[in-house]
């Protein structure tokens, strides 16, 4: 039996041209849903940040088509309609109903990530689901937008469902409950309606497909599409030598108890064309908000898997079939009520990187050394003396990514869980807020040495022109960006308040810390890990790095024996 024949052959084979047309149409339908959502959304985090995902599912909750979307939302939309069915049975689905869910322990993420989904009917027959998840800017948590120091889910805002948002085409009281519980109801309901518009687009596209090809052909095509996807992934997995591969790292702390690191462990077992990810050895759920539900841990593991196994294909119901996952209930990756989940992504960024670390011996040409790995957040709030108006900001700091076989890591790049978000232009920041950006640079020597060196982190320095309060979440100072195959470790994050002054202070996390006009804060994100032994680095690359200022002469002499 060849690998391509491994999956069960479909009973009725649709012809290859029809299969390919339907495959493209399903992806295109998801793209149309995504375009509709982004076009109609009210919040910048959706229409600029793209912090959302859409999918069409069949009646077995398998993904027919999905937009690229935020990676962390990969492959956990199907848990939502499944949760409804487990609770109410499959007869609960009715035409023109819309459901909503944001429960962290079901959806897996923080309460701000809201999933809205609807069954799709054609002539009275239930043919599948249209589903979308998006980040809502505020869910009525104790602090605006969400907290860095919540200790249970009840501090984090409105927790729902699954419940019906529309029944037989009419809004239910849930819409009113949402409006009265969130801080920005106008935008929130706008975003909610954008999500419903996306569902409608998906429903129309699915109905058109069924009308054109008939459900039997679509099902046959679906089986063939899934078979193709599964066969490709199984082949890649089968090429990995059988064995057990392990990696571990720690989060610095949970944001509340700053002295206790949070271990995350991963055991990968490859056997034939199957692969198992076991994270049961990870820490128990924490008091601070760095927990997530099982569904989200599975998503992160799928991202780690996809980056290595199938980066170029659109995911569908045939994806991830070779993958099994083991997550322990009550751990930081399988949190149960009432664990706080607001800052649910810091350990997931680490987990995604650990997949690459564990499998490095087996996939040396696909893996990358570690990146800075977290968002490295600064937020500020105050009253602008120029206008008397209040302001709030939140910015991520760009860091270095790891090297890989054939290339240095990239410098000053957003971390993986933030998708494709851009930094704020200095000219915009200084015009709108009472700051001056006194430095913004690629920080030399922060990336780790190696045959392929890590990328450098960025330094951004703010001088405040008004009193204000600052929040900081800089992570991964204990598990710094590691190297692979002899590559070294990147420099960790660094935050200095008033550098060079008598009141200079170093810290990494803070909540609403007061700052005075004239105070300076200098943020430097970590550099990436190196790949391969420094001794093997091309001397011309070292010379070019010195010439371009990516490494200092001193660093080049010390690590690479540079003689220039």
């Amino acid at each position: 039996m060849t690998l391509l024949d491994h999956a069960e052959p479909p009973v009725h084979r649709a012809d290859p041209v029809t299969v390919e047309i339907i495959r493209n149409a399903l992806t295109s339908a998801a793209n149309d849903m995504n375009a509709t959502l982004i076009r109609s959304a009210y919040s910048p985090i959706l229409y600029e940040g793209g912090d959302c995902v859409v999918a069409l599912l069949d009646t077995d909750h398998q993904v027919l088509g999905q937009s690229a979307g935020l990676p962390l939302f990969l492959g956990n939309l199907e848990t939502c309609s499944k949760a409804v069915e487990e609770k109410y049975g499959s007869e609960v689905w009715q035409p023109d109903d819309v459901w909503i869910l944001n429960d962290s322990y079901l959806g897996g993420t923080h309460l701000n990530d809201v999933t809205i989904f609807a069954p799709v009917f054609v002539d009275g027959t239930h043919v599948g689901f249209s589903a979308t998840r998006a980040h809502w800017m505020d869910m009525g948590s104790k602090d605006v937008g969400g907290s860095m120091d919540s200790v249970d889910i009840f501090q984090e805002g409105l927790r729902m469902g699954p419940v019906k948002l529309h029944e037989a085409g009419r809004e239910t009281f849930i819409v009113d409950i949402i409006s009265t519980n969130v801080r920005f109801p106008y935008q929130t309901i706008g975003d909610m309606n954008a999500m419903i518009a996306a569902l409608r687009m998906g429903t129309i596209r699915m109905q058109e497909l069924v009308a054109r090809y008939g459900i039997a052909t679509i099902e046959a095509a679906r089986d063939e599409i899934f078979r193709q996807t599964e066969a490709l992934e199984r082949k890649t997995v089968a090429d990995i030598p059988d064995g057990v591969y392990e990696a571990e790292g720690v989060l610095d702390n949970d944001g509340i108890d700053l002295d206790t690191p949070i271990p995350i462990t991963l055991k990968v077992t490859v056997s034939g064309d199957t692969i198992d990810f076991d994270v049961t050895g990870s820490a128990d759920q924490t008091r601070g908000p760095v927990n997530c539900g099982v569904a989200q841990a599975v998503s992160a593991l799928r991202v780690g898997y996809k980056l290595l196994i199938s980066p170029e294909t659109n995911s569908n119901g045939g994806s991830f079939r070779p993958l099994s996952t083991q997550v322990r209930e009550g751990s930081v990756l399988g949190a149960v009520a009432p664990a706080a989940c607001q800052w649910y992504f810091s350990h997931l960024g680490l987990l995604i990187d650990l997949v690459s670390k564990a499998l490095a011996p087996a996939l040396p040409d696909r893996v990358v050394a570690a990146s800075h790995g977290d968002s490295m957040i600064i937020n500020t709030a105050g009253t602008d003396p120029r206008t008397g108006r209040d302001w709030v900001t939140m910015e991520a700091t760009l860091g270095g990514w790891g090297g890989w076989d054939g290339s240095d890591g990239e410098s000053a790049l957003i971390n993986s869980v933030n998708g494709s978000i851009k930094d704020l232009p200095i000219e915009m920041v200084e015009t709108k807020y009472p700051f001056r950006i006194t430095a913004y640079r690629i920080e030399k020597d922060t990336g780790a040495p190696g045959r392929w060196r890590g990328g450098n982190g960025a330094t951004r320095e703010y001088e405040f022109l008004a009193d204000c309060a600052v929040g900081l979440w800089f992570e991964r100072s204990r598990t710094k960006p590691w190297g692979l195959f002899g590559g070294e470790t990147g420099r960790g994050p660094e935050v200095i308040i008033n550098p060079g002054r008598d009141d200079e202070e170093r810290l990494l996390k803070a909540n609403a810390r007061p700052m005075k006009a004239g105070d300076v804060i200098r943020l430097t994100a970590s550099g990436g890990g190196g790949y391969g032994n420094v001794a093997d680095r091309d001397p011309q690359a070292v010379a070019s790095d010195v010439e371009n200022g990516y490494v200092s002469v001193d660093h080049a002499r010390r690590h690479y024996g540079y003689e220039g």
Partner: protein, 684 residues
């Protein structure tokens, strides 16, 4: 005595020339081979073939891909970038997004210059343009020495807040020119793009510095050549915005010429919309390796204020061209037992298997040939003959493993490619809030008319138009352009802080300068028009919509605030499907566009047909997996009023139009083919 208007569109393989005879009121199109390294020779030989005495030419317009090619092939000049000290890494940080979410081995788009070619210059302005630290003039002189010693070909200067106060950038250029000579190329960011956002403005200046000397040299040579051949009319250049400028002005602002080549088609589309029932067009231009989609909405080309090329942003007015990675060269292949078409292209080399240049993989062009939709001898005006056996052999390499016969695989590849193109068009229109069914499809380029009707069918579009000279439509479009210049002025205010008198005064100032600048373009005073608009957004948003103003005086209207908010809300609703009237807004940038209307080149109506008959022949072509008797007709044999039904193929020098069964064709009084879906409309 005869006189002519002439447009020249130089592509990679062919140069298209369209002439308009002012007396006969007739267009003609011709094609000559592009002569790399000596481009003007191809142009002159093309002109010689249609005009006896080149001194009869009274107007020339040219679309050039010189800047674009220099950029794409990375053969611009070495650039030294001078940027504000302390934040000079903005260009290489490039705002830090990861544009491929599932690629852990992601690298940023390759910048045009290395980090060592950036010099931090002390000198700092505050957000309002006031000086915090004076310019370090000695550092600028040091940089000039580096330019000389390092053999740099141009300098880009991009300081923070130069759009508020350009003094430091201007002084920098004075110093550089003292040191390097008055001819030396210095691109100042506030001139390349007078808008905020330092990375995008810096990138604009770098692209201008990098491509500028190449464009300048080329334009100077072409002008010299035309003038020695007796062409006295000034040369005009198509800009990325769709307006035209004299070559003399284009040399001052070479960045504006970057997309000079492809935009002609969109301008042609806007002209075409005047004579069609619908002002809403989707233009499809298909060549060998790419498939370009442009939109004309209410008769106006869809123009955006920012362009991105290979990841490098530029802030400038540019006609929106959406490029989809599909074309005649898209390769069919097998993955896990499934058929795939594209996105990889066989390109021009080796090209489709039927080109006989050692390509062995089957492409969409090979499939069209095997189906009989392209004729082996009549491809690219007879400049190239096609090898049908090579096409069949290549198709079998994919067809046999899939169990598909020669016809099934060939038409299957076309069907998959057509649905992919249609789906890409649908997603583009949906993200603009447009329903494609309400639009008319206009097909041009060599391969556009071959696929357009299939796309229209897939999208539910009732009407497809194939204009005259579809292969030279871009060149034709250039003759329809007006002189255009764009001016911007950053003007950041929350709605409640707007000072109407100041806003109006500022607009009047820009207007006076802008209108006066049209004198350099030879536009008489009574032909000059100014239009103002303002970029508006909801507070806290980053992106904006450009909202038109009725005049520079409109802000003085006591009702202005309310009217602006309403106009913005209406536009927002159109674009995004909802609006938020009453929510606080802010204005970002003032924009003034001046146009000079040129003497129009109206064509005399096409001769009506004398009867219903026209010469044609019949040959079998595959549609719906069966060979069908198909009418083959030469376009030159068609007259306005002729009608016929598909299946049919219309042949002409520069393009092939495929009309499948179920569609009717009418030749309108401009000579355009109007193709309608019989199922949707009935035959008319």
């Amino acid at each position: 005595m005869s006189s002519y208007k002439v447009s020249m569109d130089i592509g990679g393989t062919f140069t298209d020339i369209v002439t308009y005879d002012n007396q006969a009121k007739r267009y003609r199109a011709t094609k000559s081979s592009t002569t790399p390294g000596e481009l003007s020779r191809g142009v002159i030989s093309g002109l010689d073939s249609v005009i006896d005495d080149l001194s009869d030419i009274d107007f020339t317009v040219h679309g050039t891909t010189q800047g674009l090619n220099a950029f794409l092939e990375r053969r611009g000049v070495g650039v030294l970038l001078l940027a504000t000290d302390g934040v000079e890494d903005s260009y290489h940080i490039a705002r830090g997004p990861r544009l491929e979410l599932y690629n852990a081995q992601y690298r940023k788009p390759e910048p045009l210059i290395e980090r060592k070619d950036v010099v931090g210059i002390r000198g700092r302005l505050a957000y309002d343009g006031s000086e915090l630290v004076p310019l370090d003039e000695e550092a600028v002189r040091d940089a000039a020495r580096r330019v000389r010693d390092g053999g740099y070909g141009a300098v880009a200067v991009a300081y923070l807040f130069s759009y508020k106060n350009p003094d430091h950038e201007r002084r920098t250029r004075e110093i550089l020119r003292e040191e390097l000579g008055s001819d030396f190329t210095v691109a100042l960011s506030h001139e390349s793009a007078k808008e905020w956002r330092e990375y995008e403005r810096t990138s604009s200046a770098v692209v201008e510095a990098y491509t500028g000397p190449v464009v300048r040299d080329y334009l100077r040579n072409l002008e010299d050549e035309l003038s020695t051949r007796g062409v006295e009319a000034p040369l005009h250049i198509m800009q990325s915005s769709g307006g035209i400028l004299t070559a003399a002005s284009a040399r001052e602002h070479p960045l504006q010429t970057l997309f000079s080549g492809p935009v002609g088609g969109a301008i042609g589309g806007a002209k075409l919309a005047e004579s069609l029932e619908s002002g809403n067009l989707i233009g499809v231009d298909m060549g060998g390796t790419s498939f370009d989609v442009s939109l004309v909405i209410d008769g106006v080309p869809d123009v955006s204020t920012e362009a991105v090329l290979e990841g490098q942003p530029m802030l400038m007015s540019v006609v929106n061209i959406h490029t989809i990675g599909a074309g005649g060269g898209s390769v069919a292949w097998i993955e896990a037992g499934g058929l795939r078409v594209g996105p990889r292209s066989a390109g021009a080399s080796p090209g489709p298997a039927c080109y006989g240049r050692d390509g062995t993989e089957p492409t969409v062009t090979d499939a069209n040939l095997a189906l009989g939709r392209v004729s082996a001898e009549g491809f690219a005006a007879g400049h190239m003959s096609l090898d049908i056996e090579a096409a069949r052999t290549a198709l079998a390499t994919v067809g046999e493993p899939l169990g598909l016969g020669p016809v099934d695989i060939a038409e299957g590849i076309c069907d998959v490619a057509n649905t992919q193109m249609a789906q890409a068009i649908r997603t583009i229109t949906i993200s603009r809030g447009i329903e494609p069914r309400d639009f008319t499809l206009v097909a041009f380029g060599g391969a556009g008319p071959m696929h357009a009707v299939f796309l229209a069918k897939e999208l539910g579009i009732p009407e497809t138009v194939v204009p005259r000279f579809p292969g030279a439509f871009s060149a034709w479009g250039m003759l329809q352009g007006d002189v255009r210049k764009d001016f911007t002025q950053p003007y950041f205010h929350l709605d409640e802080d707007i000072d109407p008198a100041d806003m109006s005064r500022t607009l009047r100032g820009i207007e006076a300068e802008a209108l006066a600048s049209l004198a350099e373009e030879g536009v008489p005073e009574d032909k000059r028009h100014a239009q103002h608009s303002v970029d508006v957004r909801y507070q806290l948003q980053e992106f904006f919509l450009t909202v038109p103003l009725t005049s520079a005086d409109e802000p003085l209207d006591p009702d202005f605030g309310r009217r602006l908010a309403e106009r913005f809300a209406r536009q927002y609703e159109d674009r995004y499907g909802h609006a938020n009237l009453g929510a606080p807004i802010e204005i970002v940038t003032l924009r003034t566009r001046v146009t000079g209307v040129l003497e129009s080149a109206e064509e005399r109506r096409s001769e009506p047909a004398e009867g219903a008959d026209f010469p044609h022949r019949t040959k079998p072509v595959v549609f719906d997996r069966e060979p069908r008797d198909t009418m083959i007709v030469e376009r030159d044999d068609l007259r306005s009023g002729h009608t016929f039904a598909g299946p049919a193929i219309v042949l002409e020098d520069t393009a092939t139009t495929v009309v499948p069964p179920g569609f009717s064709v009418r030749v309108d009084d401009q000579g355009a083919l109007i193709i309608r879906n019989l199922e949707v409309e009935g035959n008319d």
